[in-house]
Every structure is written in C-alpha cells, then in structure tokens.
C-alpha cells in the first residue's frame, strides 16, 4: 500500500500545481489597483510605488507566480496585511481547533450512522428502518446552520446544559473543552451521518443478498457471524466512499459551524480575513485547504483500493 500511496502522490503533483495556479490567479484577479485598495486613495504616489515594489507587483505575472510558489513551498504564505503575522503561523495556531472539531464530528456521525445503517439493513422494514430512512432524507436536506441554531436554542438557552458558543482550549480544561465541542460536533456530523446511514444500509442490503452470504447461512453460520465477517467489511467500503465524497462538503460545513459557534479555527480565520479584506490570509487559507483536500482525497482513494481487493488503482 505504501508503494501505491507513493505512486499516487507523484501523480497528484501536477494537479497540485494547477491548484496553486488557480489560487494565485484568484487574488491577482482583484479588480482595481491593489496598492490603492490597501493604502487608500489619499496615499502619495511614492508610498504606492514602494508598496508595489515591496509586494513584487511591478514584476511580470509569471515571475510573481514563481516567487509566490517558491515561498509557499518553503512554508512562507506571506503576512497578514492587518497584523503582520505570518499567515502560516495563523493557520497553524488555529489548526488544532479545526482538527478537533472534524474528529469529533466524524466520530459522532459514525457513532450514529454505523449502528443505524446496519440494524436498519438487517431488520428491513422495521421501526428502526423507518427512522433511519427518514433520518437519512431529513439529515441531508437540513441546513447545518439551521440545525445548529435549533440545537443552541434547545440545549444551551432552554435547558442550559451546554454552552451556546465559544471555545475552551484543551490545555485549559478538558471537560469544558469537550462540552464546548458537543453542539458543533453534532451540527457538523449530522449531514454526514445521514448520508453514511443511507449508503451503509443499501450497501449492506446488496451484500446480504449475494450468493456467498446465502451459502454461509445455509452452512449454518449464525446471522451475526454472517453479518460480522462478510457483510461488514464490504459495507465499510461504502462508508469510506461516502466520507471520501463528502470531504469537500465537510470542509465547507466546518467553516459555517465555526462561524456559528464562534470557534477560533481555520474556517473562522478565512471568514474573518474576508471581512478584513486581508487578501493574503484569504489566499493562504484557500491554498492550505485545497492542498489538504487533495491529499485527503488521495488518502481515501488508497484506503478504498486497499479495502476492496477487486479494485486496484494503477
């Protein structure tokens, strides 16, 4: 598998180049003169000229791109126009929050979806099946920010069980950190849970119908053994597929969830810097998220081919 990973990684490099090109083009497609935009209309020509030189705006676009890419590869994503803090540093500061949220959301969604998907497939047309079908349809159509608002209202304002928003970092207090994570994790994880439930159920149904399962049942293996050994592994493939397909949506929803719950993560950094018109931060975050997304997809692909021996990607 490592060899496969390595080969796929090499194949992804041209794609990453193109992605970086798009990100570069995005910011440099800014309407208007960047120098005037950042320094104001009143700035004198000398200051404007110095700003342009400092940012390399006077050089040809290709040279600018090469310089920018070179710096990015070394981890230098520029500096915030507002705070002068290196963008890479800002991202790394906030990354733990986003990662914790993602892990929590994935855990919540799999904890809900896996049992529900399996049980509803095994006990077709039962009450559980009905609940899970409804959940699958509803969970996916529900806008995350609406669900979040409802959860905040019920659990934080009415019942006062959980904090309505805000973040307590892990080193400060573990229980408070976990508490502040509950509502965001459920908000983020529900849509994914809905899809995984649906996919898992149909995947399991397919597998349960297949010949070898019936043969195993005929041989006298208990239902649980059948489900456990044969069906489960194949069903897991569908879970990985769904998670892989939904990674992009998950990242997007993370931005919304972080904004709704005022969590100081990478997603919030992007929104805040858009309102600050801090374009270098915006650019840096997009590049970071896009590269992260491509690499995660790669990982999922490799994992997928590892799980399903029928598919070997060359």
């Amino acid at each position: 598998m490592v060899k496969l990973l390595g080969r796929r990684l090499l194949a992804t490099i041209p794609l990453l180049f193109l992605v970086s090109l798009v990100v570069f083009a995005l910011v440099h497609a800014l309407p208007g003169d960047p120098a005037v935009l950042f320094l104001g209309e009143e700035a004198d020509p000398e200051t404007l000229a110095r700003f342009r030189v400092r940012l390399g705006l006077d050089r040809p676009l290709v040279a600018q791109y090469a310089a920018w890419l070179g710096r990015a590869l070394r981890g230098d994503l520029g500096r915030s126009l507002r705070t002068n803090q290196p963008v890479a540093e800002s991202i790394l500061e906030r990354l733990p929050v986003t990662l914790e949220l993602l892990v929590a959301a994935l855990s919540v969604s799999l904890a809900i979806a896996i049992p529900m998907g399996i049980v509803s497939a095994v006990k077709r047309n039962s009450g559980v099946d009905l609940v899970s079908t409804v959940f699958a349809l509803v969970g996916f159509a529900m806008p995350g920010f609406w669900l979040g608002i409802i959860l905040i209202y019920v659990f934080a304002l009415l019942l006062r069980w959980l904090p309505p928003s805000g973040w307590v970092p892990l080193p400060a207090s573990v229980p408070q950190n976990l508490l502040s994570l509950v509502l965001p994790a459920f908000t983020l994880g529900t849509a994914l849970a809905a899809l995984v439930t649906r996919q898992l159920r149909s995947g399991m149904l397919e597998v349960l119908r297949q010949d070898y399962v019936r043969t195993a049942q005929a041989k006298g293996l208990s239902e649980r053994q059948v489900v456990g050994k044969h069906a489960l592994k194949n069903a897991l493939i569908s879970v990985v597929t769904v998670v892989g397909l939904q990674l992009g949506g998950l990242l997007g929803n993370t931005i919304i969830t972080e904004t709704l719950f005022a969590l100081p993560g990478v997603g919030r950094l992007m929104i805040d810097s858009i309102f600050s018109r801090d374009f270098f931060v915006v650019q840096g975050v997009i590049l970071f998220l896009a590269v992260g997304y491509v690499l995660s997809n790669l990982l999922v692909d490799v994992l997928y081919s590892y799980l399903d021996p029928r598919i070997r990607l060359h």
């Binding site: 320094l39 104001g40 209309e41 009143e42 700035a43 507002r82 705070t83 934080a156 904090p163 309505p164 928003s165 805000g166 307590v168 005022a262 805040d272 309102f275 600050s276 018109r277 801090d278």
Partner: protein
C-alpha cells in the same frame, strides 16, 4: 511622548506642553505655550499615564510588549488575541492596596460569547454588553448591572471632500432624514440618549436647548433639492459587522429610502474599518468615539480643520476660532457658551451625522466588590476585591 520617531497617538493631546520642570520629589511644574483648559482632564486619561523612562530606553519600539507603569499591578504576559495577565505589585506606594492578586484580561469580540461567559462564571467583569442583552443580564441572579452616563458618541462620518457629501445641503438632508428617536428606542432599547452633537448628556458642555435634530422628512427633501439632488442618489456606508450596528444601519437605510436616497451597506471587520477611516477611503463611514472627560477632547480633534481625527476633512474658520477660544478659556460659563455655538454650527454644517450617545454599562458578578464605575469606561481595579463565598 513628543518624540516623533515613536509616533505616539497621544502626541497631539499634549501639544501645548512647552517644558516640564521638576520642583521636588513630589512636585512638577508644567509650562504651556498657551492657556489650555483641558490639560488636567487630558492627564486623567491615557496621555497622563506614567511611563518608565528606563524601560522606554531599554525596549524602544518593543516597549508595548514590555510595559512598565506606576499602577498597583505589574505586567506579566500578553498572548495576543488570547489573554493579558497582571499580578499584584507589592511595592505600590499605598501598602493597603491592591486587594486582588491577579487580573486576566480576555478579549472576546463576539458579544453573545462574551455574555455567555459572564453567565457561566468564566469571567467576573464584562465590558460592553449588547443593548438587547441588558434586560437578560438584570434578570440574571448573581450579576450586577451598572448603567451610567458615558462620554461616547456614535456618528456617520460624511466625507466632506467627495461627492455627494461635499455639498452642505446634501449633508443636511441626511441630518433631517435620520430618526434618532427611533434608533434610540429600537436599537438601544432606550439606553443612552440621541446625539445631535459631540457632547453627551453627562457633559456640562451639551446644548440641552437644541431641538433642531428631530426628524423632518419634508425639510430633508427640500435640502436634497437645494443640494442639486432632487431625485435622490445612491451611496455606500461602511460599518462594523456587529449585529447592533447592522440593525442600526438597516434602520437608517429604511429612513433614507423615504427621501429617495439609496444607501448601500458595506460591512467590515473593525480593524479594517478603522484603517479605511484613517486613510480617508470612504464616502460615509459609521463609527463611534469613546469620548474624553473634557469637551475639548470630544470636539477639537474632529471639528477643527487641523484636528488629528478630522478624517472627513471638514474645515470652517469660524469653527476653528470657536474651538481654539474654548480651549484657552478657563471660565466654565464662558466655555459652555462657546460650545453651544460649536454645537449649533456643527449641526448647521453637518460634517457628521451624529446618531447616539451610548450608555456606559458594565456587568460584574455579585462577588466582585469595590468596583468604581466611571464614565470614561476604563476599568480601574485598584480598590476591587473578591468576596469569598
């Protein structure tokens, strides 16, 4: 402070200081270039906070990261955007103070997160509460809400140099189209007071007889026509993306629509808003001023043609004269008369569309004792102690 290389923002506040002479260990003589009434008030604020010469010489530009002052607490650490910690200074000149051992300041920009932290006991004192939350705070057990008059004013800065607000009549149209009473009631829940000038009710300088600030749609339309825009016009106002300000701007938007003016709203993060204000990159910009104890501090910098914060580039020699006179005059009665004229002239020229004077509201937990709430909004912890339960 006067060293231009250090670019202190307080420099203009002590401009009239000519020389300082040390008389003895407890007396200092300051000579001014001209009579300057606000001087003592200026010294009660940021400009009067003592700074260690040795520290400035040692740290230079990094002094802000290693501050040394003369207060009852000493600086421990500052993690940007996270917290700032102070600890008790044992060598304070009054050995009975302070009572507190440690103070931690936490910046929480989101008002609902801040209020939630207050309610759950994560913080003990809260600065700035959204007007809509005040009622909930008062109803909450264990919290004390203190509402006093403030020095604030909120206004829309109108760029006097670019169209359409380079025409006085157009600015006056905005002045009469805005309904300050409604804003006071709906946005601020009756807290604070409507503003028709730079002097809030807490100041002796306020012109309480002035009534020409009430909404008058007919007059606003007439002013528009007078200014050459009888069919209205369109412009963009920049504002801070906080719910209270968004609500207020939408109300102004609806009110201006009635006279045919189409106001678009551009919401920005506060730092960017301030940067745009300082670089004159705006046609209209809505922002507040936290205020200074002396009326001169609320007016001179904004209305004098050479005022350090006059970003709208307003210039009227008569106004300059009034302001300069008022700051040189030491008799309060005479100063008040001058500031009344300032208010009337400012309403006539309408370089700013003043909207509201905020109430100064602080919320603190019941176990916090000895907190003296002062209208400049600064939190002085010298005499504060925590009551153990």
């Amino acid at each position: 402070m006067r060293d231009p290389a250090l670019a202190s923002p307080r420099r203009s506040e002590i401009a009239p200081v000519k020389e300082v002479r040390v008389v003895d260990a407890a007396t200092v003589e300051v000579t001014l270039t001209a009579p300057f009434s606000p001087f003592l008030s200026v010294l009660t604020d940021r400009a009067g906070m003592m700074v260690s010469r040795a520290a400035v010489e040692k740290y230079g530009e990094d002094y802000a990261r290693n501050p040394v002052g003369t207060g009852p607490f000493r600086f421990v650490e500052w993690v940007k955007d996270d917290h700032l910690t102070l600890k008790r200074f044992d060598g304070y000149w009054d050995p009975s103070l302070p009572h507190l051992d440690e103070i931690v300041y936490r910046p929480i920009p989101d008002h609902s997160v801040r209020f939630a932290a207050m309610r759950t006991g994560q913080i003990d004192v809260m600065h700035q509460i959204a007007p809509k939350d005040v009622a909930a705070a008062r109803a909450e057990r264990g919290l004390k809400v203190s509402e006093i008059a403030s020095l604030w004013w909120q206004a829309i800065h109108l760029n006097n140099q670019v169209p359409p607000f380079n025409v006085k009549a157009v600015r006056q149209a905005i002045w009469y189209a805005v309904d300050r009473a409604v804003i006071q009631r709906v946005v601020y829940y009756g807290q604070g007071a409507p503003a028709w000038g730079p002097f809030p009710p807490s100041m002796w300088a306020q012109d309480r007889e002035f009534t020409d600030w009430k909404r008058d749609v007919a007059r606003a339309k007439a002013k528009l026509a007078e200014g050459g825009m009888p069919n209205g016009f369109s412009f963009t106002v920049k504002g801070w993306n906080q719910p209270t300000h968004v609500q207020e701007l939408q109300i102004v938007q609806a009110q201006l629509k009635e006279i045919g003016v189409d106001m678009k709203i551009e919401l920005l993060e506060f730092g960017k808003l301030l940067a745009d204000l300082n670089s004159h990159t705006f046609v209209a910009l809505r922002i507040g001023w936290s205020g200074r104890p002396d009326p001169d501090g609320n007016a001179h910098v904004f209305l004098h043609s050479k005022g350090g914060l006059n970003r709208v580039r307003y210039s009227n020699p008569k106004m300059d004269e009034l302001l300069d006179q008022a700051r040189a005059e030491s008799d309060i009665g005479k100063r008040k008369a001058l500031y009344v004229q300032v208010t009337r002239l400012a309403a006539e020229d309408a370089p700013y569309a003043w909207l509201h004077h905020d109430a100064e509201i602080k919320v603190w937990a019941d176990h916090v004792k000895g907190f003296e709430h002062i209208s400049d909004g600064m939190m002085r912890m010298k005499g504060v102690w925590i009551e153990q339960r």
